[in-house]
């Protein structure tokens, strides 16, 4: 398109390019997270589940932390009821993600059910890194779908191969997950109050880890956001345009919105 608009500077790619980048990031997240499914599948069968039960957890429960908690309790000799409760405790944060994502995603019908099913740490995080609804939707669906595909494939591989597969931490996959979460958080840390909230939440999560059952430390950390949100706003910090990327993309917007 030969519009007489100034060429965008190198750090402000066009909206279409940003969407492509987001979708590529979704694929990367899906692959990195999915590989971890090997360790879930292997751990599940080592804990006494059969491969079918491991697959039902990955396909239907589909939320990694809860799945590891479930097989952890079973493997540790706990009751089936205890396993179910531990997994549900870890799943509470998915409810919070729904609250955050609801305004950006389609309601009702099959897609409404699909968005609920794909609501996990990774899809919510990539959605949160978007600066408008279109980017949030692209992030949510790409991370959600790719994680689902690879998580289930690799769960099956891990469940069938069992202990023949080496520990995924030898490949640094646990550090890859930490790297992915910090990379998703990074663009949100442009303002000082965001840094304070992130650091305070990290601190609360670590301090409460030895004290609370699995799953609750992350929820305790979520209270930091609640407290910060309830504080009287002393600046435009949380104003409606706070998520907009400063930059000359606004002019390019019309080109993409067909």
């Amino acid at each position: 398109m030969a519009a007489p608009s100034p060429a965008p500077p190198p750090h402000a790619p066009s909206p279409a390019a940003r969407l492509r980048t987001i979708r590529r990031t979704g694929l990367s997240i899906g692959l990195a997270t999915g590989l971890y499914g090997i360790s879930f599948g292997a751990l599940a069968t080592a804990s006494g589940l059969d491969p079918w039960q491991a697959m039902v957890l990955s396909a239907v429960m589909f939320t990694g932390g809860s799945q590891f908690a479930f097989v952890g309790v079973v493997g540790g000799g706990g009751s089936a009821l205890g396993a179910a409760l531990a997994s549900l405790l870890l799943g509470i944060r998915n409810t919070l993600y729904g609250l955050v994502l609801a305004p950006s995603l389609p309601r009702g019908g099959l897609r409404g059910a699909a968005r609920a099913h794909l609501t996990i740490d990774e899809s919510a995080a990539l959605a949160a890194s978007g600066s408008d609804d279109e980017e949030r939707r692209a992030g949510f669906w790409s991370a959600g779908v790719w994680v689902f595909v690879f998580w289930n494939l690799f769960t099956l591989a891990g469940a069938l191969a069992g202990q023949h597969i080496a520990d995924p931490s030898a490949w640094g996959l646990d550090a890859a997950a930490a790297g992915a979460f910090i990379a998703l958080l990074w663009p949100r840390l442009r303002r000082g109050d965001a840094v304070v909230i992130a650091v305070a939440a990290a601190f609360v999560a670590l301090v409460t880890t030895p004290l609370l059952p699995a799953g609750l430390p992350v929820l305790a950390a979520a209270l930091v956001a609640v407290a910060a949100g309830l504080l009287p706003a002393r600046s435009a910090a949380a104003g409606p345009s706070s998520d907009e990327d400063p930059g000359p993309q606004a002019a390019d917007d019309q080109e993409v919105r067909r």
């Binding site: 729904g98 099913h117 640094g172 550090a175 890859a176 992915a180 999560a205 880890t209 950390a221």
Partner: protein, 104 residues
């Protein structure tokens, strides 16, 4: 059907309900200024907590190991404006390398 199967299916279905229920909050409640401020800040707090727990916890314990070095490398790469995939691979290679060398 074994008790374990019942638990697998019940926990899986309830896990879906947990996800679904978050979307059912009425929109006008979510649009109240305080609530919308909280929902905008929630991802920051949750991600901060996930970074911390993924890096430095193992079960109910604080464990400092090769993951911390991986996180450090990830932050350096982010400061250098590296793309997402480079950051993730950098963290993984760092941790895997340190473990292979037996240093962490």
């Amino acid at each position: 059907m074994s008790l374990l199967w019942v638990a697998v299916i019940a926990a899986s279905v309830l896990s879906f309900v947990q996800k679904w229920i978050g979307y059912q909050a009425p929109q006008d409640v979510l649009e109240r200024p305080r609530i919308s401020r909280i929902t905008r800040l929630l991802p920051i707090a949750l991600l901060g907590a996930l970074v911390a727990t993924q890096t430095a916890t193992s079960g109910a314990e604080i464990v400092l190991d090769a993951r911390l070095a991986g996180l450090g490398v990830a932050i350096v790469l982010l400061v250098l404006r590296a793309p997402f995939l480079v950051v993730v691979i950098g963290a993984a290679v760092t941790a895997a390398g340190l473990r292979a060398l037996g240093w962490a």
